[in-house]
């Protein structure tokens, strides 16, 4: 997700307003970081510094939290975020083969973004729709009961 300068300014204004509203809550750091990640799609060093300054904590603390939790990203994500569920129910029904097929089709490893910036591949934790196992999610759309042969056709819709 690349932002125009105007969008960036709007996002920073929204983030500053959110910080202003919540900075006196008890333990506000994570919710502010979550808001920032929602707005920008990731936490740049610039954003982390801004949050640290506003809350009067060292940047290391913000960075420490950002790297502790899987959902905070320090890099921008691709246009489409693709997650293959690797929860147990999906795993025993063959999600590893689905993930391998995705990696092969897109020529990109899980945890990375394709060179053209189209897809970010993630091996996600359990998504909780185990009745549809094995499951893959692209953006918000869920694809269930997959076999590796289904992968190419689904990816074509987004390429």
């Amino acid at each position: 997700m690349s932002l125009t300068n105007e969008q960036k300014e709007q996002n920073y204004a929204a983030l500053n307003a959110f910080i202003e509203e919540h900075k006196n809550d008890r333990g506000p750091l994570m919710k502010i970081m979550q808001k920032a990640q929602d707005l920008f799609g990731y936490l740049s060093l610039e954003t982390q510094t801004l949050i640290a300054d506003a809350l009067h904590v060292p940047v290391t603390e913000v960075y420490g939290v950002a790297t502790f939790y899987a959902q905070f990203s320090l890099q921008p994500k691709g246009e489409h975020v693709l997650g293959v569920c690797t929860g147990t129910a999906c795993y025993v029904k063959g999600s590893a083969a689905v993930l391998e097929e995705v990696e092969r089709e897109l020529n990109c490893k899980s945890g990375h973004t394709t060179e053209d910036g189209k897809f970010t591949i993630q091996a996600t934790r359990c998504l909780g729709c185990c009745g549809l196992a094995p499951v893959m999610v692209i953006d918000e759309q869920v694809y269930g009961r997959l076999v590796p042969a289904d992968v190419a056709g689904i990816l074509d819709k987004y390429r």
Binding site: R26, G27, P28, L29, M30, K31, M33, Q34, E61, G64, V65, F68, Y69, A70, Q71, F72, T86, G87, T88, A89, Y91, V92, K93, G94, A97, E100, E101, R104, T124, R125, C126, L127, G128, C129, C130, G131, L132, A133, V135, V142, G144, V147, P148, A149, A152
Partner: protein, 595 residues
């Protein structure tokens, strides 16, 4: 009054398979047919039979429609809602030969269940507080605040025998009593909704299907221990649950059921949601409390226990979602009623999320003491595709496997520990003969090694070393002595890790070693995977005797590894084959096998 209610599941599973479009279509057609005053469409929580989703149940008949598509809705409206004729071919049948079930109560999946924590899931609109109130909602809170003393509330919970449903099984009433006895100017009540066990989704279903029951119970806990503030910590992966909780909290505040002077008493209590950000260790109580404070969710040694020193350094009572969901019913119906169910040491029911190689994937709630066999075969419908049962895994990455020889074990906290597994939060994943147990152990170790927070060495380094050995074994490079090394590491990690995550991380290895040691030995000494799962040890081959040369396999092969001439036997190029098994599924003659 409406003459019919159309209940459509709005849980995560059914929403993923287009249930929102189904609701929209029902609403359009009901309006177009002028039935808006007669028929009401309700988006409910989870019905439990996720395998058959999306699910639509129409009352008063209780007609149970399964795997409905938005296109099917037209027929249901024109036949069932307009003419009063149940659309038989869309009704769920357990047995294709005998399409006899028409209503929910006739279905074997529900017969042995006893829904307490899930009582309202599928029955009410979770976004409407009035529907919760109509089912006795907030009555228990009213009773506690106006009729019972704090000590009496704790006494009822203690006598009910309710134990923590998060997995450890600590008596809830005793926990509340500790919180009550702690002296402080401020105390907190926390709900653990960080359901991190892969394949477990009961807490999510309660939060999605009946959020008010958790809010009500937290307020009751707040009254009992003397807290005025509650926090619900929910995984960020559960957007629908978070949204419904937000709505529920808003409605409860509006009705004066949260906030200042509840029921006109001097008791005030409010609840705030805190979102997790993807860290399994935060399901551990001390880590969760640290995360609520907005910090790295690292656990700390206990004591002091949270009831003495919890969130923001104040006494905190922390229970799991399912535990809370039981509380209002216990208060309303009495501890005697509750303690009749279950076994001597474990009262009440337990919700399990059935998954993996089982016919009825979904959510079931059974009395404690029900056997694993009853859950898997009578409720779960057994193993699909005529395969053989191999093991059931409970307790997720902290638990272990239950082999066929232990299927008749009655489920409770102690009996599961005795057979080397554990209750855990309630994930129950079934595996068949195609699953390799060494690989499953590796899968869980990958998970715990990845989720280890890194604070203590036994967990950070020890799980990594175990994982490396398991990787070697599944890659066909296992050595003599590996099993003994695994056992030694497991013993040391269990004895020395700081928190529950590390102390239980070796369990999947120990339990598979206990029951499936021969599979480990086959990998190490014979370089063979008995289940045919481990790719480095497997070869996919076509039996030239059986092959009819139809070429289907070569068309489905994603890597072009199969070649041959039509009407003569095909062959697989082993250097290209990725052993995905797609050809095996396509072959009409069963000529392809993986060994």
């Amino acid at each position: 009054m409406y003459r019919s209610h159309v209940m459509v599941c709005g849980g995560t599973g059914c929403t993923s398979s287009r249930s929102l479009e189904i609701i929209q279509r029902f609403e359009e057609l009901i309006a177009a047919n002028g039935l808006s005053d007669e028929v009401k469409v309700v988006r409910t929580g989870c019905f439990g039979l996720c395998e058959r989703g999306p699910i639509v149940v129409i009352y008063p008949e209780g007609a149970f429609y399964a795997r409905i598509t938005p296109e099917d809705v037209d027929r249901i409206v024109s036949e069932h809602l307009l003419k009063g004729r149940v659309v038989k071919d869309l009704i769920y049948h357990e047995n294709d030969d005998k399409p006899t079930n028409t209503s929910l109560n006739d279905i074997g999946f529900y017969k042995k269940q006893h829904r307490i924590a899930l009582r309202n899931c599928g029955m009410i609109d979770p976004e409407n507080i009035d529907e919760y109130i109509a089912y006795d909602g907030y009555k228990a809170l009213g009773k506690c605040l106006t009729e019972l003393t704090r000590e009496e509330v704790i006494d009822i919970v203690k006598k009910s025998g309710l134990r923590g449903r998060g997995g450890a099984g600590f008596p809830t009433g005793m926990k509340w009593e500790f919180g009550y006895k702690s002296v402080s100017d401020q105390k907190y009540v926390v709900c653990n909704g960080d359901e991190g066990d892969p394949g477990a989704f009961m807490d999510r279903s309660v939060l999605e299907g009946d959020p008010h029951s958790v809010l009500e119970a937290m307020a009751i806990a707040g009254y009992a221990v003397g807290a005025s503030q509650g926090y619900i910590y929910v995984r960020a992966e559960y957007p629908i649950a978070v949204k419904r909780l937000e709505i529920a909290i808003g409605q409860a505040r509006e009705y004066g059921l949260l906030g200042k002077n509840i029921f006109g008493t001097d008791f005030s209590f409010d609840i705030e949601i805190r979102l997790g950000a993807g860290a399994f260790v935060c399901g551990e109580e001390t880590a969760l409390l640290t995360s609520i404070e907005g910090r790295r969710g690292e656990p700390r040694p206990r004591p002091p226990f949270p009831a003495v020193k919890g969130v923001f350094g104040k006494p905190t009572v922390l229970n799991n979602v399912e535990t809370y969901a039981n509380i209002p019913v216990i208060i309303n119906k009495g501890y005697e009623w509750f303690s009749q169910m279950g076994t001597e040491k474990c009262k009440g029911t337990k919700v399990f999320a059935l998954g993996g190689k089982i016919v009825n994937t979904g959510l079931v709630e059974v009395p404690m003491g029900t056997t694993v066999r009853e859950i898997i075969y009578d409720i779960g419908g057994g193993i699909p595709n005529g395969k053989k049962f191999k093991a059931a895994q409970t307790g997720g990455p902290s638990g272990g496997c239950i082999p066929a020889s232990c299927l008749d074990t009655p489920i409770d906290y102690e009996s599961l520990i005795a057979i080397g597994s554990m209750m855990g939060s309630g994930g129950l994943i079934v595996m068949d003969e195609d699953n390799c147990m060494v690989d499953i152990a590796k899968f869980f170790l990958e998970f715990t090694a990845d989720e280890s927070c890194g604070k203590c060495t036994p967990c950070r380094v020890g799980t990594r070393r175990m994982l490396e050995i398991l990787e070697r074994i599944t890659n066909g490079e296992g050595r003599d002595g590996d099993i003994e090394k695994l056992e030694q590491l497991a013993k040391n990690i269990k004895a020395t890790a700081l928190c529950g995550l590390g102390q239980t991380a070796p369990n999947p290895v120990l339990s598979t070693l206990r029951y499936f040691r021969d599979e480990y030995e086959a990998h190490i000494y014979e370089k063979r995977c008995p289940a045919g799962h481990c790719k480095k040890l497997a070869r996919v081959t076509i039996d030239p005797e059986k092959c009819i040369g139809c070429s289907l396999c070569s068309k489905v092969c994603p890597v072009g590894a199969i070649s041959g001439k039509v009407k003569s036997p095909f062959v697989i190029d082993q250097s290209k084959c990725i052993k995905c098994g797609a050809c095996m599924e396509k072959c009409p003659r069963g000529a392809i096998s993986k060994k």
